[in-house]
């Protein structure tokens, strides 16, 4: 990073923290701290909802996912717009009518205290881990690429977020998220334009998409009905719908965003704004990864994108074998250039037969290239047995650092920090609120003054921030980061969604059947995760269905507890 990059990064982070702290200066009551004072317009709510979901992992992992597997990941979001409509039409009006501060408060009125506290506990467990991951995931990548100590990066993200989240609560979080979204979207748009204009002059956007498509990266919609394929149209429309219903309808980090709306209409519009723009935004982020893939068809890519580890391995006894693989890699790249020229000239001349031959040759070269990457990973494992050989999360950041011009590098690093901060701030805000409303005020100190709860909400936010930083300090790299977060969410979301759906739509079902069904449903999902290879999106469907079916069954067979009249 050059001095200009540092200036842009530091100025962006300072401006955001200062703005959040300034916006939160007038927060004097627990209600304003928890619910944001109910004065947010729909566009702030919409951007805040999008920023909460868009963590740093989104910007680091998704371009890498498009590079490796193509655009198909976008199908994960296909059920989201329908979920936004269902929530806006059914659940949001109920939350508004009850004037609740957390989603779990609703469950006590509808069922009983134990159901409220169990769902709140499950939320605290999964969001507490999630907050740790949302700090750790970007920290480990940024540390490795920028040469910063991991704990230092953890500390920077954690402390910056705690400062403005604690000072201004929900209002500060939502207001800063609008600016964080502006930084994120403009940074990604500039990166897209830069990579597009970095392609050879003879290669148009249409050519680039044909190259990506020929190499299997443009299979955007897959209508096959395979249960073991993670992303298909059907898994997106069912599993994705259930995830979105659960995440936006029952996860306090999202519920808190739209409960801050000045009216019910503003909250509804905020959710629908997310429903309209989410898929295009994810397509844009995946599109950056796709263009990076095409860029590396014309420019030599590293053999392994986590280059720090590659250089470390070159200091071991495996160095000669690695150098030989690198020589082979360079040769395959040169051959690929030859095939690409054939492909482009056949396309431009409209020669179908030559085009088909060039496509075939290109695919074979890509296969060889992939096989070489695989061999490199095996060698790395021999050289450094503890090394993480999945390098997809390093693809975009390596591209940023090695290819983007001065200034843009600083902006893109700021994008990743902003995303980490926005997701973590919402999580800490929700964790602090749930702890104070559903646990502390409900069960420990129910009759204190408002200032006491405001002070405790701030204290719990700090405590959760420290817990998240502590978890981040000890977490180890899990599979692909974005999938790790989604899997974690899917394990807990289904059963919780089942409880809320029973609450909203099956009015005759009582508290105890739902409570037992939630415990059993959660156990079923954990067993499915441990023992089967079913795609994780289906966990949401399984957990939700088990809870609904079992609640109905238990409600029918369990005797009603009757009040015993005193003698």
């Amino acid at each position: 990073m050059r001095p200009l990059d540092w200036i842009i990064l530091a100025a962006t982070l300072f401006a955001i923290v200062a703005y959040g702290t300034w916006k939160g200066r007038s927060v004097r009551t627990a209600d304003v701290y928890l619910r944001g004072g109910n004065d947010l317009p729909w566009y702030t709510i919409g951007l805040s909802i999008m920023a909460t979901q868009a963590s740093a992992i989104t910007f680091l992992s998704m371009p890498g996912q498009a590079y490796e597997d193509g655009m198909g990941f976008v199908q994960f979001y296909f059920g989201l717009p329908l979920a936004m409509v269902i929530l806006a039409a059914t659940i949001v009006p109920v939350y508004y009518r009850l004037r609740i501060a957390t989603a779990y408060e609703y469950l006590e009125g509808r069922f009983d205290r134990k159901t409220r506290q169990l769902t709140a506990f499950l939320f605290l467990l999964q969001r507490g881990l999630g907050a740790g991951l949302s700090i750790y995931a970007p920290a480990i990548i940024l540390s490795s690429v920028l040469g910063w100590p991991l704990q230092f990066t953890n500390l920077i993200i954690g402390v910056l977020v705690i400062v403005y989240t604690v000072s201004g609560g929900t209002r500060a979080v939502s207001q800063t998220q609008t600016w964080q979204m502006a930084v994120m979207l403009s940074g990604m748009a500039l990166a897209f334009l830069f990579v597009l204009f970095s392609l050879p002059q003879s290669v148009s956007l249409n050519d680039a998409l044909h190259i990506a498509g020929s190499l299997g990266k443009m299979q955007i919609v897959d209508y096959s009905a395979r249960m073991d394929t993670r992303y298909t149209f059907w898994s997106g429309m069912t599993g994705g719908l259930f995830v979105a219903l659960a995440y936006f309808g029952t996860d306090q980090s999202q519920v808190q965003r739209y409960l801050g709306g000045s009216t019910l209409a503003e909250s509804r519009l905020g959710l629908l704004f997310n429903g309209l723009l989410k898929i295009p935004m994810q397509l844009g982020i995946l599109g950056v990864g796709l263009m990076v893939f095409v860029f590396y068809q014309f420019n030599p890519p590293p053999l392994f994108f986590h280059t720090t580890e590659l250089h470390r391995a070159e200091q071991t006894a495996q160095a000669p074998a690695l150098h030989s693989l690198q020589a082979e890699h360079a040769q395959v790249f040169a051959e690929k250039q030859h095939h690409l020229q054939h492909f482009l000239s056949a396309r431009h001349s409209g020669d179908e037969r030559a085009l088909s031959d060039a496509k075939q040759a290109l695919r074979q070269a890509e296969e060889r290239s992939r096989a070489l990457r695989q061999k490199t990973k095996s060698l790395l494992k021999q050289a450094l047995p503890t090394v993480e050989t999945k390098d997809a999360d390093y693809i975009f950041i390596t591209f940023v650092k090695s290819q983007l011009p001065t200034g843009l590098v600083g902006l893109l690093i700021a994008v990743i920090f902003c995303a980490a901060m926005s997701a973590t701030a919402s999580a800490l805000n929700a964790l602090g609120s749930t702890t104070v409303v559903d646990v502390y005020k409900r069960s420990i100190r129910p009759n204190e003054r408002d200032e006491h709860y405001l002070r405790m909400a701030k204290l719990f936010t700090v405590v959760w921030g420290i817990v998240a930083m502590g978890f981040a300090a000890f977490a180890s790299l899990l599979d692909n980061l974005i999938q790790a977060v989604n899997i974690l969410g899917s394990i807990f979301y289904g059963p919780t969604l089942g409880v809320f759906l029973v609450g909203f739509f099956l009015k005759h079902v009582r508290g105890t059947p739902v409570f037992v069904a939630l415990l059993v449903g959660q156990a079923c999902v954990l067993l499915t995760f441990a023992l089967s290879s079913i795609g994780f999106l289906w966990y949401n469907v399984i957990g939700c269905m088990v809870v609904i079916a079992l609640s109905l069954f238990l409600n029918a067979v369990l005797p009603l507890r009757r009040a015993i009249a005193p003698a």
Binding site: F78, P81, A212, G216, M218, T263, L264, L272, L276
Partner: protein, 40 residues
């Protein structure tokens, strides 16, 4: 309460707003399916 829950001025009801969101999504998925066929 009713005044707090008006749909956007250009629309007559929330149902129209919901149809707009779902219709745009269906159109987008149709375009993406088409792109999957064109670029392969």
């Amino acid at each position: 309460m009713a005044a707090d829950n008006q749909p956007p001025p250009i629309l007559r009801s929330w149902a129209q707003m919901y149809a707009l969101v779902l219709g745009s999504t269906a159109l987008l998925i149709a375009v993406l399916s088409l792109l999957s066929r064109v670029y392969r």
